[in-house]
């Protein structure tokens, strides 16, 4: 208890020095909290936009479909999936899709296409499909003989709204599937590659075309909070409990995007190392100075029987008290800053395009790790660099430090 008292009261002895030490810890905490909140907010914003825009946060397929896609690997009973997804809280929306490759032609222009059968109502609810239509209109029903083309594909075919497009593919029964569809709209997803091949058909029409009535290849699911992907993915998997189906989070079906994001996010640690150095240098400097100044005092403590470990405790407790105070103050200030940037964001005069997604404002995110990591950084770096001065204090030679004078 007396060691606690000495450590606590020592904080107030050299107020200016304490202030400098506190400032480096407080500043380090705020910087780290803001930086982590900012990085998480920006990256999660990109990920959320990317997944919501096209892929969904979770996808359901027949087993192995992702590794080796095939026309025949279909989900045959959507009713169970619909019932399950309705029951899982946190699921925002879902949409079934059908995929195959084909050849589209208009007059003398021909292009390879990816035929996507989509449920017009569900797709719009899940990925805001209608908002991406830049010309023409949305599907009138799930069974209409209508097509919407990606912008790039429309350019290749030199197609305009109301043109009739011929498409050929292979149906599931082995026959040649071919039909003529009226072009009712042109869409721009933000991803050029997709837009150069995208041939959207209403789901029922696509199922009829491919002789896959009632069957789909994929169900894309969006959830309310990106951070819940892992949890909800597990719940869906458990509830479906079907070995023929595989439920994947976005990190699996968009692996290259995930790896790119992860690599970018790793860069954050370089900044955190810089912050650790700032805190460490600030603390080491002042703690070492005060230990050197109090050498005689530590000498007296040692002379009257204080153990070296107790002297170490005094020095470390002093810096721990200060660090805890700075963590609390920094958490309050960091929360205020992150709250401001989470709600207001930072508007970009020139929007950034990342993977086909345009970001107009960067926003911070408030999460536990943006406080937990800075707290650890401050506490551990301050504690670690204080070890050297603390050991020095503990090794004080009483006779030499006091010289009995």
């Amino acid at each position: 208890m007396v060691l606690l008292k000495i450590a606590f009261r020592n904080i107030f002895r050299q107020r200016r020095r304490t202030l400098f030490t506190a400032l480096s810890m407080f500043g380090g905490f705020i910087l780290a909290a803001f930086f982590i909140g900012w990085a998480d907010g920006t990256y999660n914003g990109i990920i959320d936009m990317f997944t919501r825009n096209r892929l969904g946060h979770i996808q359901i397929h027949e087993k192995d479909y992702l590794d080796r896609p095939s026309l025949y690997k279909t989900i045959n009973d959507m009713s169970v999936i619909n019932r399950t997804l309705e029951e899982v809280s946190g699921v925002e929306s879902w949409t079934p899709r059908l995929y195959t490759a084909g050849l589209a032609s208009l007059d003398d222009k021909t292009a390879g296409v990816q035929i996507l059968g989509i449920d017009p109502v569900r797709e719009n609810k899940t990925t805001s499909f209608n908002k991406k239509i830049i010309e023409g209109r949305a599907f009138s029903s799930a069974s209409a003989a209508e097509v919407i083309l990606g912008k790039g594909l429309a350019e290749i075919l030199k197609a305009g709204v109301e043109d009739e497009i011929v498409v050929i593919s292979q149906a599931a029964d082995g026959s040649i599937a071919n039909d003529i569809y009226r072009l009712i709209g042109i869409t721009e997803s933000g991803d050029e590659m997709t837009d150069r091949t995208a041939f959207y058909l209403p789901l029922e029409e696509a199922q009829k075309f491919l002789v896959l009535e009632g069957r789909v290849h994929e169900v894309a699911v969006t959830i309310n909070n990106l951070n819940d992907v892992e949890r909800i993915h597990r719940i869906i998997e458990e509830k479906l409990d079907n070995p023929r189906l595989s439920v994947e989070p976005w990190q699996e079906f968009a692996r290259s995007f995930y790896m790119a994001m992860k690599a970018d996010k790793e860069g954050m640690w370089i900044m955190l190392v810089v912050i650790i150095i700032i805190v460490a240098v600030g603390v080491l400097n002042t703690v070492l100075m005060s230990v050197l100044e109090r050498q005689r005092e530590y000498g007296v403590l040692r002379a009257v029987g204080t153990k070296p470990s107790q002297v170490i405790r005094i020095v470390l407790l002093e810096i721990t008290f200060l660090a805890l105070f700075c963590i609390v103050a920094g958490a309050i200030a960091g929360l205020l800053i992150n709250t401001y940037f989470a709600s207001h964001g930072l508007s970009l005069s020139n929007p950034i395009t990342y993977g086909g997604i345009e970001i107009r404002a960067m926003r911070s995110e408030i999460n536990t790790r943006s406080f937990f990591i800075p707290a650890l950084i401050v506490l551990l770096s301050a504690g670690f660099v204080s070890l050297f001065p603390a050991l020095k204090a503990a090794r004080t030679d009483p006779a030499r430090s006091m010289r009995f004078h």
Binding site: K5, I6, R302, A303, V304, G305, K307, P398, R403, F404
Partner: protein, 239 residues
């Protein structure tokens, strides 16, 4: 013969034999203490005097175990210091030696009471006993009612009284006082010495001073004069 020696050593609080201390200063050997045999019996009130550099402080440092001798041995209360491990020596020092320094050396962030009870805390004395002893000793050194003050708010004389209280409160066998009056005016110094002499009489604790202040010399019952690290004179005054 050896048994006789042990018995002889145990008769003394401090028993040194052939103490020598050599320092290296810029590559040059400096002999601070040269073969000192010192014996102090329980309850003595002794001053070690001598000019600066005569080895007084070094001698006290070696006796207290804060420094080690290059040659020779020290027995305190019959225990041979050189045979003790560091931790054991620290505990032994805490329990058996009280220190009074020229510069008071109080812990500035602890109040008077806390400074005085610090050693008892390390010794694990219970709270009630600590409180009782602190009040008693503060009363004896004339600091009643000042327990809540911080050392920097006290005069030099008052601070030295706190230091005396701190040194004596755990009832050690030996009090080592290094130039305790050097920072005090003669009146304050004299009063403090009278107080220590009275405490010595009442408690039977052994006092060993290092000093060149006449205030101490006049009151000491035994005066040991050092010169060039050797005992020049050892006089016991008549009562």
């Amino acid at each position: 013969m050896e048994e006789m020696n042990v018995r002889k050593i145990k008769d003394y609080i401090v028993y040194t034999e052939g103490l020598e201390k050599t320092y290296k200063d810029n590559g040059l050997e400096v002999k601070a203490v040269r073969g000192i045999d010192l014996r102090l019996k329980s309850g003595e009130f002794t001053a070690v005097v001598g000019p600066s550099g005569s080895g007084k402080t070094t001698l006290l440092n070696i006796i207290s175990g804060l420094d080690t001798a290059t040659r020779g041995e020290v027995w305190l209360k019959g225990r041979l210091l050189s045979k003790m491990k560091k931790r054991e020596l620290a505990d032994f020092r805490r329990d058996n030696i009280g220190f009074i320094f020229q510069a008071y050396n109080l812990i500035p962030v602890l109040r008077v009471e806390e400074n005085v009870e610090y050693i008892m805390l390390l010794q694990g004395v219970n709270k009630l006993e600590r409180h009782k002893r602190v009040l008693e000793i503060l009363d004896e050194v004339g600091l009643q009612g000042m327990g809540n003050r911080l050392p920097p708010k006290l005069s030099g004389g008052q601070q030295q009284r706190v230091a005396i209280a701190r040194a004596m409160v755990s009832r050690p066998a030996l009090i080592l006082a290094d130039e305790p009056t050097a920072n005090l005016d003669s009146k304050t110094g004299g009063a403090l010495l009278d107080m220590m002499k009275e405490l010595n009489r009442k408690t039977g604790m052994t006092f060993l001073f290092s000093t060149h202040d006449n205030i101490v010399v006049e009151r000491a019952r035994r005066v040991i004069t050092l010169q060039d690290g050797k005992i020049l004179k050892d006089e016991v005054k008549e009562r």
